[in-house]
């Protein structure tokens, strides 16, 4: 019997490095196809509403930006029983229900995945509304995918590299949330506020500074995500 596998990318693409999980999932989908027992899910900021999907999974693979207190861009992999304690949340609203809670609720409802792997990357900068992943975090998309594939190999989970990657224009002309269009369509700082609201950032955990913007020309924000995956073409 094929085990049910859920590959989940979580985070908020509107908050710079917070979008790591979702962007990694998109890149994975773009370059690989999977059999019916494997589900790829953009969990976004759905929080507690992801419980059902987690309960249905035998094996859970999660991509996320996690504040481990490491150097920005460092990847850290956590498995099985170690996962919950790394997934605490600063919950402020229902949407922000930490993934730890989702796991806790799945367990309390009697359906916990047999195996969990959390592929997390330390964010560099988050408080940049509409900003993209910082270069050090973006550079971890490929290694994170490699780790997921390695885990799939070890657990006999099937996958195939697509002959040609799905590119956003194949999905929809109007898919403005795909990474390249999203980045290229970004309004200037004068036109749209890029800073977090300092009143909600009163925790000492946050440092309020103006985000460093990359120079035009070498801007990582103009790099299309597929460039990181050149070797699969």
């Amino acid at each position: 019997m094929n085990k049910k596998v859920l590959v989940l990318g979580i985070g908020n693409i509107l908050w710079a490095d917070e979008g790591f999980g979702v962007r990694t999932l998109e890149a994975l989908q773009s370059h690989y196809e999977f059999p019916d027992n494997v589900t790829l899910l953009d969990g976004g900021t759905q929080g507690v509403y992801l419980v059902q999907d987690v309960r249905d999974a035998d094996i859970l693979i999660v991509f996320d930006a996690i504040d481990y207190g490491l150097e920005p861009g460092m990847m850290k992999i956590i498995t099985n029983e170690d996962v919950p304690k790394f997934m605490g949340a600063k919950k402020v609203s229902l949407h922000q229900t930490g993934f730890q809670e989702v796991l806790a609720l799945a367990d309390m409802m009697g359906d916990y995945p047999e195996q969990i792997i959390l592929i997390g990357v330390q964010p560099e900068y988050i408080e940049d509304f509409g900003g993209s992943l910082r270069p050090v975090v973006k550079a971890q998309i490929q290694p994170a995918i490699d780790e997921a594939l390695k885990f799939m190999d070890a657990n006999s989970i099937q996958y195939n590299k697509r002959d040609a990657p799905i590119v956003p224009s194949d999905v929809s002309e109007d898919a403005i949330l795909t990474m390249d269009k999203y980045e290229q369509g970004r309004p200037s700082e004068e036109e749209a506020c890029r800073m977090g609201d300092d009143r909600i950032l009163t925790s000492e955990a946050f440092q309020v500074t103006t985000p460093e913007l990359a120079k035009v020309g070498d801007s990582p924000m103009q790099v299309e995500v597929d460039h990181h995956l050149e070797k699969y073409r």
Binding site: G47, Y49, A89, V92, S93, H95, Q96, T97, F99, D107
Partner: protein, 603 residues
């Protein structure tokens, strides 16, 4: 320190300890609350602050009014759809578009499904932990819990001792492993928790059952609106064509099979409301019979626009009729007219916005949303405020008023108005609930002392959920009958093309959103949005002071409430959560330690 009395009758004393809660958690959005507590631990002053700016009004300027619903719907993913519905109503009002009967009924069903979903999720997943102590549930006797279940909700099938023992074992595993999961950061040894271990176990069990069921309820939105959250809407009707014998292909997602699926979900909602939600609220309320405080403005002045007509565009058929009651005078229900420039006005002299003349309010059609953040008179620094100054600007929330009066909105306001206007269904629900409360609590109280409290706000929400699930059955039957009579129209597209629109027009849409009366006001010029203003329920309830000094509903509900321990403000959270505050949604950040950024500071 100073002692003042507000025009709406609240004595404020700024002496004693100042307690700051920032952020208030288990709500939507960002909120801060500061209170003064006297030597008897009774709250004597309250300052409620919305700490984020929504700014959607600015985003909408210059856009196509037919797209507005898709933007405003994103204000929140929990009350999903109600902003979209209000928006299409406002645009249709401006352009004088009348929607077909099927579209009316489908929109009604989506709105009522949202009420049930939102109310259930609020009670079990955001509010229950203010009343229920999951740690205490470990001490429960599963057999006695089973008996309690059979006493309070005899028709609910999950009631065996074995079932409760199983749930208890799973909770124990968690708590003993030191991972409290969703129950983290509670004040579990605080004497403010009053339930018996058995009642705690029953409630925690239903917390899990509700989580399982809520995902079924929202499938009604996926049938009619294509997805959830953020189902699709359409100016002129609904985006789901009907072909009763179709196989859902060719762009007609609605057939008999799908409608039967919707009916099955409605039956689930009804059963859960009747057999679990209402009994739980009454059982829990009876343990808190001595804590019937927190009525605040809800015990005095309430407002709603009215909702759920049986005949579209005929307000006289509203099943939850609107109006305004002032100073607890239920014999005098006044009219609220969202078009009248003297009725609904927003003030900003205590809000971080700028008006040319801040002594006056502005009607939303003439509303201005220009930020003006100034905390120069607060204590602390700009990024780490220790204490706000409520005599200056102190919130991102404006202060809406009805003819200058501060009013509370929400299910309790709607139930007060419906009861006062003689809606039989509502009166029967209230009388039954009062009888059940008195029987369980051993009291002999009338409707007012129970309803006009934190408990009553929570009870009214449950009763509204029940009423909505019953109305859903009527709507479903009406939809089937209308389709059987040969009408399959779902949209009126006569005025879809902007060339058919007037050069300038304005409109208003109102809705009974889960948290209270919601209104959107729009001005359209040359086919584009010229001005758009949303006055949301939490703007009314969470409003700061107005130029006359009236306090809003959040602040009013706290005055006079005693707290067991000032540093563990369970009672403050309970009162505020009873409104189901929604300050619009935000994002998440994880930390290794799993620490919340919530802090309660005593000064």
């Amino acid at each position: 320190m100073s002692v003042t009395t507000t025009p709406n009758g609240y004595k404020l004393d700024t002496g004693g300890q100042r307690v700051v809660i920032d952020p208030v958690t288990r709500i939507e959005g960002h909120m801060r609350c500061e209170v003064n507590v006297d030597s008897n631990n009774v709250i004597t002053n309250a300052v409620s602050t919305g700490t984020m700016w929504r700014g959607l009004e600015v985003i909408l300027k210059g856009r196509d009014p037919r797209d507005a619903w898709a933007f405003v719907e994103r204000i929140c993913g929990v009350c999903t759809g109600c902003h979209a519905l209000t928006s299409v109503r406002a645009v249709e009002d401006a352009l004088d578009i009348k929607i077909p009967t099927n579209a009316f009924l489908i929109r009604e069903m989506m709105a009522k499904t949202l009420q049930v979903h939102d109310h259930v999720v609020h009670f079990y997943h955001l509010h229950a932990l203010d009343w229920v102590n999951p740690v205490n549930a470990l001490k429960a006797d599963p057999k006695a819990t089973s008996k309690l279940q059979q006493l309070t909700g005899p028709k609910h099938p999950n009631s065996s001792p074995g079932y409760f023992r199983d749930v208890q074992t799973r909770i124990r595993k968690f708590i003993e492993s030191g991972q409290l999961g969703p129950f983290k950061n509670g004040y579990w040894d605080n004497p403010a928790y009053k339930l018996t271990p058995e009642a705690d176990l029953m409630a925690v069990t239903h917390y899990l059952e509700a989580l399982d069921l809520q995902k079924e309820f929202v499938k009604v939105h996926t049938v009619f609106g294509g997805k959830n959250p953020h189902p699709n809407y359409l100016v002129g009707g609904v985006p789901c064509a009907i072909n009763m014998d179709g196989d859902m292909s060719a762009g007609a997602p609605l057939n008999m099979e799908r409608l039967n699926f919707v009916k099955a979900r409605i039956d689930e909602m009804k059963a859960f409301n009747d057999n679990v939600y209402i009994p739980d609220v009454l059982a829990i309320a009876s343990f808190y019979k001595k804590q019937l405080w927190g009525g605040g403005l809800g015990a005095k002045s309430v407002m709603d626009y009215g909702a759920y007509p049986t005949v579209n565009y005929d307000k006289s058929t509203d099943q939850l009729p609107g109006g305004v009651i002032l100073d607890d005078n239920w014999d005098n229900v006044m009219e609220v007219d969202p078009r009248d420039p003297t009725h609904v006005q927003e003030f900003v002299n205590h809000s971080w916005y700028k008006y040319p003349d801040e002594s006056k309010g502005l009607h939303p059609w003439d509303g201005i949303t220009e930020p003006n953040y100034d905390v120069s008179s607060a204590k602390g620094t700009r990024t780490n405020i220790e204490e706000l100054d409520e005599n200056a600007k102190y919130s991102w929330i404006k202060a809406p008023r009805w003819k200058g009066h501060a009013v509370e909105v929400g299910p309790l306001s709607r139930y007060t108005l419906a009861y006062a206007q003689g809606v039989e269904y509502v009166q029967e629900q209230v009388h039954k609930s009062v009888a059940a409360f008195n029987a369980l609590a051993g009291t002999d109280l009338g409707a007012k002392p129970i309803l006009q409290s934190t408990t009553g706000r929570t009870l009214a929400r449950a009763l509204e959920s029940q009423y909505c699930s019953d109305m859903l059955v009527d709507d479903w039957n009406a939809l089937i009958a209308n389709i059987k009579a040969g009408d399959t129209a779902t949209a009126n597209m006569e005025k879809w093309d902007p060339s058919t629109w007037p050069k300038e027009c304005k409109g208003v849409g109102v809705t009974a959103a889960p948290r209270g009366g919601l209104g959107h006001w729009i001005r359209i010029k040359d086919g584009k949005i010229e001005n758009y203003q949303c006055v949301v329920p939490t703007t009314w309830n969470g409003s700061p002071r107005d130029p006359a000094g009236n306090i809003g509903a959040f602040e009013a509900c706290l005055i006079g409430t005693p707290v067991e321990r000032a540093e563990e403000p369970v009672e403050i959270l309970r009162n505020l959560h009873s409104f189901d505050p929604c300050l619009a949604c935000s994002t998440h950040v994880m930390s290794e330690e799993g620490e919340e950024i919530v802090s309660a500071k005593v000064r």
